[in-house]
Symmetry: C2
Subunit: 653 residues, 2 copies
C-alpha cells in the first residue's frame, strides 16, 4: 500500500498550517522576551519538574517524550531534518504477520544465565548483589531511596502549589485550548479533505486499543449472563467448590440460591452500575459479584478457585474471539495479583498457560489492589513487607533464574505492565513521611497512603526492569489508576512514577500538573462512562477539554460488565463521546492513535499498525494511510508542543 | 408462562404506592376546592381542548386514551373493577405464532365489494357519493371542512396562549416532575425488587420498537459502505442507469467518480452527520447522498430507479435479517411517496411485493415530504390539488375497487400509518387562513404552510379510514414529524390531527400543549441523538423531563446512517440515554413499553408481546413477566393521570 503524500506535500501542509494559525500567536511569544523574574522563576520550576520526571522514567525505563527530552538535553532539532519520510513509502502491509503458534514459547528452551545474583530486600526494596555480597552498580544505580523520593515529592508539591506558576499554567492551558479551536475553525474542512483522500482507511478500520479494562469485567452483562446460563445447563453436575469439607456441584450451588437457568436475567445478575453507584466506589465493588454473591464472582471471574479458573478462562477467550472477529479492536485487560500469598504469580501463570488465555488482540497487565489493611485484618500478612515479598519476590527470582518457575518466566514475557488499583476516595489515615515505619515495621491496622504504595511499587519495578533489561527480557510499564477520586495529589506520585495513568480527572483541579502532563505527553486513559456512573456526570467530564489542549488522552471502557449495553463496548464508548461532545472524525482517529501509542503492544506490531517511523512525534512519524489522522493535525500538535517547550526552555542553560 | 402476581398483590402494591407518595399531595388537591373563577375557566379550556382532540381522533379512527375518554364521557370507573386480571394467568406464549408465509396474501383472492362508490375530490378533500350522486352519510359524517378546522385551530391557539392557563399548566408539570422524583426516592428499590422477581425477563429480552426511522437511512454507515463495495465487486457490469440515452454500468459509474472498491471508506462515503450539520437541516438532507452524489442515493436507497430499486430492497432485507436475529428489536421504517407522479404508489407496491421486502420485525409507514414548491418549480405539478391527487387518488380507488391495482391493495394491508416530513425550520411565507386559495387554485411558487398540509392530509386520511373501515380493511394512523424545529405551533396541528408525533422537542416551550399531550397520552417518539446533531445538545434534550412527568415518550433512532456508530443502533440510542441521564432499569423498560404501545404492530401481536389485557391503562393491563415494568410504576402513572383528570373534570357537567 502506498502512502498518498510525499515530503513536498508534507512541507507545504506544515507551512499552510503555520500560516493559518501562526499569525495570531506572534504577539504571545514576543511578549515573553521582556518578562520579569517572576516568569523566569516559573519556567525554572517547570523545567525542574520535567527533569525530575525524565529522571524517573529513565530509572524505570518507561516512556518519555522524545521531543521534550531533546529540550532537556539541549539538542532539539526539528524532526523534519532527521527522519527520513521516504522510508514510509516502502510497501509495508498494514497487518502484522501471524504470530507463531507457540506464543508461550513452551518449545523454546529457557535461557541459561551465567551470573546468578544474590537478591536481598532492604527496607522493602529489592537490591541485587554479586557473589561477593557487593551491590552491583549496573543495577544499583537505579535504586531510589526513600529520602530522595520524599524530597522529590515535596518539591513537586511545592511547584504544583506555587501561586504565580498556577496562574501561568492556567493561562497557558486556556491558550492551548483557544489555539486549537482557532486551528479547527480554519482547518476542519482541510482535515476532512485529507481523510477523504486516503484510500480504504476510515475510523472503522484503524486500530483502537481499549487501554484500561479489567479482565474480570471485560464481557458485558448479557455475555456473562448467557455464559452462566450455559454453564448451569451443561455443567450441572460439575463440582465447583468445596465448603466445610463438602463438595458442591454447580446445580447445588444455584439450587441454594433458588435459581433455575431459565429464571436468570440481567436484573437478577445485578452487575450493572446504575445511578445508585454514584460516589459510591465501595458499593460499586460489590457489583462485581453476580447476584450479589461473592461465591459466583469467585467461581466465574476468578483465576484461583476450585475449578482452577476454568470458567474465567473460557469467558475471557470468548471475549478475545469477539475482538479477533472485529479485527481492529484490541484490549489491555488487567489480571489481579493481590499480594496475600506467595504462590499467586505461579498459579496465575499456570492458569494462563494451561488454558491458553492468549490472543493477538490482547495484552495483559497486572493490577495490584491496595488492600494491605484487609489482609492484615484477616491475618494473611503481618506487615507491609510481606505484601511486597509476595508481590515482588517471585518476579526477581524468576528473572534471576528462569528454572525456578518456568511457567512464570514464560508468562511474564506476555505481561506489559503493572497497574495499581483501589478506591482512591478512601480516607488516608497514615501519611508517608520520614517518620512512617519501614515496610517490615509497618504493622498498623490502617492502610498506608497512596504515596507509600507508589514509592515501594515504583522502586521495586525500576530495579526489576533494570535487572530484566540486562537479561534482554521485556520490562514492565507502570500504569496507574490515578486522579479518579480522592486527593488530587495522587497525581503527583503518578507524575513521578507512572508511564501513563487511568482516569486523571482531577488534573482539572491542578493546572500546573495538567500543564506538566501536557509537556511530557503522559498518557491518560479516560473512561467517561465509568466516571459518569461513579464520580462525574458525562457532560462535565474534562476529556473534551483535555483533548483540545493536546493532552495525550485515549478512550477506554474500564468495566463493560458494569457500564455498557451493546456487544461492542469500545465502539459504544466512542459513539457516546462523539455524539455528546460533537467530536470530528479527526478527533476520533486521534483518540484511537493515542490509544495505540499508549498501549503496551510491541514496537514491531505498532510498526505495522502505525508505520515504520511511528516513534517520530511530528507528522513525519504519521502515516495517514494507517492512522487516518491528517498530517495537518499531527503537525499542529507537534508544533504547538515545540512552541510551548521553546517558550519554557528559552533561558535554560 | 405464569405471571407472578395476583389481584391481591396488585391491590396491596397499589395501596402501598398510595401511602408512599400520596400523603403529600392531599393538600394540593384539597386546595382546589375553594378556588376562584380563574382556575375554573382554565379547567374549561383544558376540557375544551381535550374534547376537540377526542373528536378529531374519533374522526380519523386513531388512538385516544381510554382513561381520558372515560372522563369526557363522565363514566370513569377505576380499572380495578372492570378488568379481569385473572385472565392474565392463562399460559400465553410470549412469542406470537409464526406468520403465514403468504404475508402479501398473493394466494388469497381479492375481496369483491358489492357497492362501488363514486369518488370526487372537492376542494382537495375526497368525498364519497352513491350511485345517485348523493353524499353517503356513513362516510360523509367524517368530513372535516376547512372553516371548522381553522376555527378549531384558532381555538387551540387561544388556549395555548392564555396567560393564566400557561401558569397553571407550567405548575402542574413541575408538580408532576417533583411527584415522580418523590415517588422514585421512596420506591426505586422496590421497583428493582419487582424486576428481579420476574423470571428470565430483562431489558435485553423485552420488545422494543424503533418508532421513528427512515428506511433509506436504516442501515449504519459501515453497513451501507460494505454493501456498496460488495456490489461494486459483484455487479461491475450491471447496467445501473441510463443517461442521455446511454446505458451506464456500475463499473462505469464509479469510474466516473474515480473510485475503486478498495478505496471507498466511510470518510469518502460522507453520510455521517458531524457537528457541521447543527442547525443545518438543509445540509443534513445532503447527507443522504453517498459521496455527495444524488445518483448514488437514487441507485442504492431508492425504490424507483433503473434497477427497479433492487439494491435498496437487498440492503433493507439485510437490515431486517439483523433485526430478526436480534429477535426483540423491531422497527417502523418510513418509505417515501412524494406526490409528484400518479403511479408512485403502484410502483412502490410492486417493488415491495416483487422483492418481498417484508419482515416480522418491521412495519412500514409511508412518509410524504412537503415539497410542493420543488415540484411546482420543476413543473411536475401545476397546483396543490395535483399533489393531493397523486397521493390520495390511488388509495381511494383501490379501496373502492381492489381490482384497479391488486398489488397496491395488498401492499396497503401491510402499511400502518402515514407520516409527513420535511425541514420544519424553513420559513413559511404563506399562512393558512380563510383567504388561502383552495388546492386547485393554489399555484403560488411558495410552499403552503405546515397547517395547510396538515388539514388536507388529515381530512383525506380521516375519510379514507372511514371508507376502509366500512370495508373491514386496516386503517392508517397519522404520525407526524412535529416540533423538531421551526414554529412551535406546528404542534397544535399535531394535537388536533396526529395519533402520535416524532420529536416534539418544542413542547418544552408550550406548557399548555405539553400538559395536554400528557393528559391525552399522545405518543412522542424522540430521537435525542438525531436532535443532538441537528437542533439541541444532548444534555439539554427534554426527554428525561418528559419521561419524569409521565408523557408518553419512546426512544427512536431516526437515521442510523447519519447518527450511529455500532451495529445495534437502537441499543446504542438506549445506552447513551441510560448513561447520560442516569435512567434506571425501570425507566428503560418503561420507554420500551411505550414504544410498543405507540407502534403500529397489530393488536394480536401486541397481545403476545404485552399480555392479553394490554389495552387496560392501569397496572391491570401490565404483565411484568412480559414488559419487565413493575406494576408499581404503572400504578403510579395511572393514578397520577387519574388524579390530574379528576382535578380538571371536577366541575365538568
Amino acid at each position: 500500500m502506498s502512502t498518498n503524500y510525499n515530503s513536498i506535500e508534507k512541507e507545504s501542509s506544515s507551512k499552510r498550517n503555520k500560516r493559518d494559525v501562526g499569525s495570531v500567536f506572534v504577539e504571545s511569544f514576543s511578549s515573553s522576551s521582556n518578562k520579569g523574574n517572576n516568569e523566569q522563576a516559573s519556567e525554572r520550576q517547570l523545567i525542574e519538574a520535567i527533569k525530575l520526571r525524565h529522571e524517573y522514567m529513565e530509572r524505570s525505563g518507561n516512556f518519555f517524550s522524545k521531543t521534550t527530552k531533546s529540550f532537556i538535553e539541549k539538542r532539539f532539532v526539528p524532526e523534519q531534518q532527521k527522519c527520513n519520510k521516504s522510508k514510509m513509502n516502502t510497501n509495508t502491509s498494514y497487518n502484522p504477520p501471524e504470530p507463531p503458534p507457540d506464543h508461550w514459547m513452551l518449545n523454546t528452551p529457557l535461557p541459561h544465565y551465567e551470573k546468578i545474583f544474590t537478591l536481598t530486600r532492604e527496607d522493602g526494596v529489592y537490591r541485587i548483589k554479586n557473589v561477593l555480597g557487593e551491590y552491583v552498580y549496573e543495577f544499583d544505580k537505579f535504586f531510589l531511596n526513600k529520602t530522595k523520593y520524599l524530597k522529590d515529592y515535596e518539591k513537586i508539591v511545592g511547584i504544583v502549589s506555587d501561586g504565580p506558576l498556577k496562574s501561568l499554567c492556567y493561562r497557558r492551558l486556556c491558550y492551548l485550548q483557544n489555539k486549537f479551536q482557532l486551528y479547527l475553525l480554519r482547518n476542519e474542512q482541510r482535515e476532512l479533505h485529507e481523510q477523504k483522500s486516503v484510500r480504504h482507511r476510515d475510523f472503522y478500520n484503524i486500530r483502537k486499543v481499549d487501554t484500561h479494562i479489567h479482565a474480570a469485567s471485560s464481557m458485558n452483562q448479557k455475555h456473562l449472563l448467557r455464559f452462566i446460563k450455559r454453564k448451569m445447563k451443561t455443567e450441572n453436575d460439575t463440582v465447583v467448590l468445596e465448603k466445610d469439607g463438602k463438595k458442591i456441584t454447580m446445580g447445588e450451588l444455584f439450587k441454594g440460591l433458588n435459581i433455575e437457568p431459565y429464571d436468570l436475567n440481567v436484573d437478577i445478575l445485578d452487575v450493572h452500575a446504575y445511578k445508585n453507584a454514584f460516589h459510591r466506589l465501595d458499593k460499586f465493588n460489590h457489583k462485581y459479584n453476580p447476584i450479589g454473591e461473592s461465591t459466583l464472582r469467585k467461581l466465574f471471574v476468578s483465576t484461583d478457585n476450585y475449578v482452577g479458573g476454568k470458567y474465567f478462562a473460557e469467558v475471557l477467550k470468548e471475549v478475545f474471539k469477539e475482538l479477533e472477529d472485529s479485527k481492529y479492536q484490541h484490549i489491555e485487560p488487567r489480571l489481579s495479583i493481590y499480594g496475600h500469598k506467595k504462590n499467586e504469580w505461579s498459579k496465575l501463570a499456570k492458569w494462563a498457560i494451561k488454558h491458553d488465555v492468549w490472543s493477538t488482540n490482547s495484552k495483559f497487565l497486572i493490577q495490584i489492589p491496595r488492600l494491605y489493611d484487609i489482609y492484615k485484618e484477616k491475618k494473611l500478612i503481618s506487615n507491609f513487607d510481606q505484601l511486597l515479598d509476595n508481590i515482588f519476590t517471585p518476579l526477581f527470582e524468576v528473572t534471576n533464574n528462569p528454572n525456578v518457575d518456568p511457567d512464570l518466566f514464560r508468562f511474564l514475557m506476555q505481561i506489559t505492565g503493572i497497574d495499581s488499583v483501589d478506591d482512591e476516595s478512601k480516607h488516608e489515615y497514615i501519611q508517608f513521611d520520614k517518620f512512617t515505619p519501614n515496610p517490615n515495621d509497618y504493622v498498623d491496622a490502617e492502610n498506608p497512603s497512596y504515596t507509600y504504595y507508589m514509592y515501594y511499587f515504583y522502586s521495586n519495578i525500576a530495579m526489576l526492569n533494570a535487572f530484566r533489561k540486562s537479561r534482554n527480557l521485556n520490562t514492565f510499564s507502570f500504569r496507574l489508576h490515578s486522579g479518579e477520586a480522592g486527593h488530587p495529589h495522587h497525581l503527583i506520585d503518578s507524575f513521578l512514577t507512572a508511564e501513563s495513568i487511568s482516569h486523571g480527572l482531577l488534573l482539572r483541579k491542578l493546572p500546573v500538573l495538567q500543564y506538566l502532563f501536557y509537556l511530557t505527553k503522559i498518557g491518560i486513559s479516560m473512561s467517561p462512562l465509568s466516571n459518569n456512573s461513579l464520580v462525574i456526570p458525562y457532560n462535565r467530564n474534562p476529556l473534551p477539554q483535555f483533548l483540545m489542549k493536546g493532552l495525550n488522552v485515549s478512550l477506554s471502557t474500564d468495566d463493560p460488565l458494569q457500564f455498557h449495553l451493546t456487544k461492542e463496548a469500545l465502539m459504544e464508548e466512542y459513539s457516546i463521546a462523539v455524539q455528546v461532545w460533537k467530536l470530528s472524525p479527526t478527533d476520533m482517529c486521534e483518540l484511537a492513535l493515542n490509544s495505540v501509542r499508549q498501549s503496551g503492544f510491541e514496537d514491531n506490531i505498532k510498526h505495522y499498525w502505525l508505520g515504520p517511523n511511528f516513534k517520530c512525534e511530528s507528522a513525519l512519524g504519521n502515516d495517514i494511510s494507517k492512522t487516518n489522522v491528517p498530517d495537518l493535525r499531527i503537525t499542529f500538535r507537534y508544533e504547538t508542543l515545540v512552541d510551548e517547550l521553546t517558550h519554557i526552555f528559552q533561558n535554560y542553560k
